[in-house]
């Protein structure tokens, strides 16, 4: 097949996903010379996880970005990008320098204003996405870099955001550690990733259809992080004052083909190494029938669930509130029952 030829051409063209990540800047102000510490050799404890083919993900994102009607697949990223920007506004600070990891066409920066973020740095593996980024009033530099090998010096950024990019990273603990390193002390990381029960309807329908039609099934949906693991991951990376919350976005589609076409148009096609590249037409027909019967709603549409996990983590700094020292209490919990009810009418 033409697969081998494509791979050879790709290696000549764009080495962004290999160890020597180069960055192309479109403005003044270079990021730091060295990489932030943990490259392939600097990891402690066990080998690297290699679940996803980053090369394939780059090709998928490039293909999705150069579609004529790529705007119509943006709805999910728009929504999540605006919610992440909301969380940035919730923090009453001005950030001189911010980084967007896996930003693609930049759905966060267009909601932010110059008062909140002064300069913005946008990173992605896909060159076509960066070329077609959405305009924003904040001066933006684009850097072509893999999320797992950030080419920035330590203590560079005040704010790191990431929207719907972390679920394709092979070594998530390593990536979170690198984000922790590039942050300044008292810097904050606000991320949103799909996780947990995303697309469980599609997963179950395909599983049942393949079992009934072919006798076995293979994974077609990529693995996601559970919300319970996220707190541990952030803690291990060194963040404190963690906040993790879940948001369920349910999108209704006419049928299973529309679900899969939209996922493809978003650049969210599966790129795990263990993916099966073929889906039999019988299986597609069976999965369409099962999806509609098991999950369809009264008006004939079928829902697809996207479970978005939002996380906020801070890099430690002396000014941050710490847990009080043991033995420093001035009142006892037993006194709670002795608090009399306020009788004034101005109390809520």
């Amino acid at each position: 097949m033409s697969g081998r030829l494509c791979r050879r051409l790709l290696r000549l063209g764009c080495p962004a996903s290999s160890a020597g990540s180069w960055s192309r800047l479109s403005g003044t102000g270079r990021p730091g010379a060295g990489r932030s510490g943990t490259g392939r050799s600097g990891l402690s404890g066990g080998g690297r996880m290699n679940v996803f083919s980053r090369e394939m993900k780059q090709r998928q994102k490039d293909w999705a970005a150069q579609l004529q009607d790529s705007q119509q697949y943006d709805y999910l990223r728009e929504e999540v990008g605006s919610r992440v920007a909301d969380r940035v506004y919730d923090i009453a600070r001005t950030f001189p320098l911010a980084l967007d990891i896996g930003g693609g066409r930049s759905h966060i920066a267009e909601h932010l204003s110059k008062e909140v973020v002064e300069r913005f740095c946008l990173t992605d593996v896909s060159q076509q996405s960066l070329r077609r980024r959405r305009p924003s009033e904040i001066p933006t530099h684009c850097v072509l870099a893999d999320e797992e090998f950030l080419p920035f010096k330590e203590n560079t950024f005040d704010l790191v955001v990431s929207s719907l990019a972390l679920h394709w990273i092979n070594d998530l603990p390593g990536a979170l550690r690198q984000i922790h390193q590039v942050l300044k002390p008292d810097g904050v990381f606000i991320g949103a990733m799909v996780g947990g029960e995303t697309l469980y309807e599609l997963r179950c329908s395909l599983q049942l259809a393949e079992t009934e039609r072919e006798g076995g099934f293979s994974p077609h949906i990529s693995p996601y992080t559970a919300v319970t693991d996220l707190g541990n991951l952030l803690g291990q990376a060194g963040f404190n004052m963690l906040t993790v919350d879940i948001d369920d976005i349910q999108v209704h589609y006419p049928g299973i083909m529309e679900v899969m076409t939209d996922l493809q148009g978003m650049g969210e096609s599966n790129c795990a190494w263990n993916r099966k590249s073929l889906l039999h037409r019988d299986t597609i027909l069976a999965a369409a029938a099962i999806y509609k019967e098991m999950y369809g709603s009264e008006d004939g549409s079928i829902p697809a669930t996207f479970e978005i996990l939002y996380m906020i983590g801070w890099k430690p700094h002396e000014s941050q509130a710490k847990p009080a020292k043991r033995g420093s209490a001035t009142v006892s919990f037993g006194d709670l029952s002795k608090i009399s009810r306020p009788s004034g009418t101005d109390q809520p």
Binding site: P254, G255, I290, K292, E293
Partner: protein, 70 residues
């Protein structure tokens, strides 16, 4: 890739899928119920457990495709 090749022809055919599938709603519901019953009942889902219902669905689908092609 310019011109007509196997990928573009297959994609064109797949674009007709929702329309054709909509014409076989009844057979699809019957097949779906057969498979969905295994998730709640005691019977395990095996290969070709609902083969009869699937054959009916497939015949309806291919007929719809033939009618459309004319």
């Amino acid at each position: 890739m310019s011109g007509s090749n196997v990928w573009s022809r297959t994609r064109e055919k797949m674009r007709l899928f929702p329309e054709l599938f909509a014409q076989c709603a009844n057979e699809a519901a019957v097949y779906g119920k057969c498979v969905a019953a295994t998730t709640t009942g005691t019977q395990e889902l095996r290969k070709d457990l609902c083969a009869k219902e699937f054959e009916a669905l497939k015949i309806c689908f291919t007929n719809a495709a033939k009618k459309r092609a004319r």
